[in-house]
């Protein structure tokens, strides 16, 4: 059974159709990318999945169960976590606190328990702390738990955001431009890191990304959006040679020059 299915999802802002009739199926343990020019509706689609927006039409199913109309916190509990295009950490909390907040849905201490600090509560806190420490280590922040998040360097903030998302133990992880603002070397590291999330943790990845080298290098399937509509879907190789995609990215008439044109950065498409 597919992990996530979007059926005819549409979202309108006033007169603007940000997402229109989008169909999409993500199989478990795949890395799936959504690409498209700026304003194509990628982040809007993310927001529909995570419950920030209510889609106007269509349905979104996680494990066959509709998640439309559920609040974001419940959707997270069902197994979807995300990161943000502009890093949105809890800036004045420490790295480990950020991850501990991510563990929130899996802890049970209430007000009364917190006040009396029973054995059970202490055990839960100790386990949470151990898990948070392990997660920090996994994302490459070992020993930096006491750093206030806003004081971490940019690359580590991105890592921490992933760590916080992992803390909610997601089945599906939505990464919104995880390599934005990174140099090629860092982007390459991030690519390996995303692959590890899938290979070692078994998490399905849904990726929005502009770095074509990253997208083509790690995605199993890609959907291309333009003006809120899906204009193509397929493997990286299929996408790279699709005339509509090239047109969307480079304008009409460019289709003739197909090869290498999707390559925004200086590097050649990794998949070719």
């Amino acid at each position: 059974m597919p992990l996530l299915v979007a059926r005819q999802v549409g979202k309108r802002f006033g007169g603007l159709m940000a997402v229109r009739d989008l169909d999409l199926t993500i199989e478990p343990q795949t890395i799936y990318s959504v690409i498209g020019p700026n304003g194509a509706g990628k982040t809007t689609f993310f927001n529909c999945i995570t419950g920030f927006y209510q889609p106007d039409t269509g349905d979104i199913l996680l494990d066959g169960q509709s998640i439309v109309a559920k609040p974001p916190d419940q959707i997270t509990r069902l197994g979807i976590a995300r990161t943000y295009q502009n890093i949105r950490l809890f800036a004045n909390m420490t790295a480990i606190e950020n991850v501990l907040v991510g563990l929130h849905p899996h802890l049970h201490t209430g007000l009364i328990g917190a006040i009396f600090r029973t054995k059970k509560v202490m055990a839960e806190e100790a386990a949470a702390l151990a898990e948070a420490t392990r997660l920090l280590q996994f994302v490459g922040l070992a020993g930096k738990g006491d750093f206030v998040a806003k004081n971490l360097p940019y690359g580590l903030q991105r890592r921490l955001e992933v760590g916080r998302a992992l803390a909610s133990r997601p089945k599906l992880l939505l990464l919104d431009e995880p390599t934005a603002g990174m140099n090629p070397r860092e982007a390459e590291d991030m690519k390996d890191f995303i692959r590890r999330l899938r290979d070692e943790l078994g998490i399905t990845i849904l990726l929005i990304e502009h770095h074509m080298r990253v997208v083509m290098g790690i995605s199993e399937r890609i959907t291309v959006l333009d003006y809120g509509e899906k204009i193509a879907e397929g493997t990286p190789r299929e996408i790279q040679t699709d005339p509509r995609v090239i047109e969307a990215y480079l304008g009409r008439g460019s289709a003739a020059q197909q090869h290498g044109l999707l390559d925004e950065s200086a590097s050649a498409p990794a998949a070719s």
């Binding site: 609040p71 916190d73 509990r77 809890f90 606190e97 007000l111 006040i115 738990g145």
Partner: protein
């Protein structure tokens, strides 16, 4: 190293004129006149004079520090000029008042009495010239303090501070020490005698001043010689358990003895402070932890107090419970009110939340005042004969006894605050404060998290209200005005948002201090305003900010080093 482009004289005059404007303003609002009635050193210095001198000294010192890089002459010049500018401003004020007697129709305090104070009783022109000279002189002295280095500066400033403090609190000290004597250990020595010698009228005597100065200088010298250890910065973490117990024990004994030693009046002041600490700790959860700006917090205080009144007062012939029976019900009612307020404002943020809660506070007060509920709340007459708490035969019926009840309440509430802060719920509140959307997306249920914050905050205010009602013995609608909410919010901000010790410091500064300086009560709000502005400009994090707490639970890593720069990210191999 000439880092600033402004010429020295310009800096000095500018800062001097700031100080001068302040001095003129304080004179015109009547502060100087009120302060004049307070003697610091009898026959020598009044608080009014000290206050104006302070304006001179501070301006001159600030100017001198700005031009420190230009060398000692520039420093002295700047000090003199700035001081002179303050003096000149006062001189102009003296002359203007003399030339335009009609100015009183606008500035009612610009009276002959003010002139008399400002001119030291001399003729107008002499007084004016005197102030210019005095300004220059004091300014140079202040600048010289900067040049003389930190050791001398600290000595002089602490001596001045001690004189100011003792002079101000002379009355209070007399009140406190009156009953003390050492006859119990066979010494025929009364503090009253010492007092008569040290103090005269409402201030220090000259002999007393000299003693104070000598003692302070002596202490400073001893400290400089290393005889007395300088207080080391307190380390919050890494204290051993036994040390901690000793500390807490000593502190408890101190707190327990406080009202016995300090007397009824101080106990009353501390009672007031404690009531605000209770409220402050509650609002700190709502505003400081959860980031929900609540301007109607007094509403919960009122509900606690009225709940206690309705449940215990025999006037109403309804319930007539004892205090202890009524207290949990009253607190329960406030929690309920907190949840009821919380539900409609769940979707509301920031400014809008502040306005809605503001309305809530007013609604509660107006309900208490209304005719509709007169049968229950007594309308403007309020409720009298509210029960006092009692344990066995011990009735908490005076300030000293109530002190212990309030102290117990504060300890309990403080303990709960700390536990909540360090829990899963505390983290959720802080995450919500940082970024509500992300907090929700990370799996935090905003509805329960917000409602729990409101409920916990309301509960503390309800307890404060219940004790307040018992303390006064009556409740009136006027006791629950908007200003209480503002006070509580201000003390949290002054103390440091989200900081539990900050609440205590804030309450001492904003409630305790004004209570001790009651005769200046009419300027309370003015000083409040100034303190808040200055705090926000120079110390926005508060007096005792929430330290970036190191997690003691941490096992492995050593203190984080600062070489995390731009080194390549170690992805591979970091998993294990």
């Amino acid at each position: 190293m000439k880092s600033h482009s402004e010429p020295v004289w310009q800096t000095a005059v500018r800062l001097g004129l700031y100080g001068g404007s302040a001095a003129v303003l304080f004179s015109l609002v009547g502060m100087v006149q009120t302060f004049q009635e307070r003697t610091l050193i009898s026959g020598v210095l009044t608080l009014g004079q000290a206050f104006l001198s302070l304006a001179v000294g501070l301006s001159a010192f600030a100017a001198a520090r700005r031009v420190q890089a230009e060398g000692p002459q520039a420093v002295l010049l700047a000090g003199g000029l700035a001081g002179g500018a303050v003096g000149s401003a006062l001189a102009v004020l003296i002359l203007v008042i003399a030339a335009l007697p009609d100015i009183r129709t606008v500035f009612i305090n610009a009276s002959p009495a003010l002139t008399a104070i400002l001119t030291f009783g001399q003729p107008t022109v002499v007084g004016a010239v005197l102030w210019v000279g005095l300004g220059v002189g004091l300014g140079i002295i202040a600048a010289a303090l900067l040049l003389l280095g930190p050791a001398v500066r600290r000595t002089v400033l602490s001596a001045l501070g001690a004189v100011l403090l003792l002079g101000l609190l002379a009355d209070l000290l007399r009140l406190i020490t009156e009953g003390w004597n050492l006859s119990g250990i066979g010494v025929n020595f009364t503090f009253a005698g010492l007092f008569r010698w040290m103090f005269f009228g409402k201030g220090l005597s000259i002999a007393g001043t000299l003693v104070v100065v000598a003692v302070v200088i002596g202490l400073n010298v001893l400290q400089a010689r290393g005889v007395l250890a300088r207080p080391k910065p307190v380390r919050v973490v890494a204290r051993t358990r036994s040390q901690q117990i000793v500390r807490i024990g000593a502190f408890s004994v101190l707190l327990a003895l406080m009202p016995l030693v300090l007397g009824t009046y101080m106990a009353e002041v501390l009672d007031q402070v404690f009531i605000f600490v209770l409220m402050g700790l509650g609002l700190n959860i709502v505003v400081g932890f959860a980031g929900l700006l609540d301007l109607g917090y007094v509403g919960f205080f009122a509900i606690g107090a009225y709940g206690m009144g309705i449940l215990t007062s025999p006037e109403l012939h309804v319930f007539n419970l004892s205090w202890w029976e009524a207290m949990p019900i009253a607190v329960g009612l406030t929690i309920l009110a907190g949840v009821i307020l919380g539900i409609p404002v769940l979707k509301v943020r920031g400014d809008y939340l502040a306005i809605i809660t503001l309305g809530f506070g007013e609604i509660i007060r107006l309900l208490a005042l209304s005719d509709a509920l007169k049968g229950l709340t007594g309308g403007p007459q309020g409720i009298q004969l509210i029960a006092k708490p009692a344990i066995g035969g011990f009735v908490f019926n005076d300030q000293v006894r109530l002190y212990y009840l309030l102290l117990a309440g504060c300890v309990l509430v403080g303990f709960i605050s700390v536990r909540l802060r360090d829990s899963r719920m505390g983290r959720a509140w802080m995450a919500m404060r940082e970024d509500e959307d992300v907090a929700q997306a990370i799996g935090i249920n905003l509805v329960t998290t917000k409602l729990l914050a409101f409920a916990a905050g309301a509960a503390f205010a309800g307890l404060a209200g219940a004790i307040f009602a018992a303390k006064i013995g009556a409740v009136y609608p006027q006791s629950f005005g908007l200003l209480i909410s503002i006070n509580v919010l201000a003390l949290i901000i002054i103390g440091g948002m989200g900081s539990i010790p900050g609440v205590i410091v804030g309450a001492l500064v904003l409630v305790g201090l004004p209570e001790l300086l009651r005769e200046f009560a009419e300027f309370r709000l003015l000083v409040y305003g100034i303190v808040l502005v200055v705090m926000m400009l120079y110390r926005p994090e508060g007096l005792w900010p929430e330290a970036s707490r190191q997690r003691e639970l941490h096992s492995e890593e050593p203190a984080p080093s600062d070489e995390i720069g731009d080194a390549p990210l170690p992805i591979k191999g970091s998993a294990s």
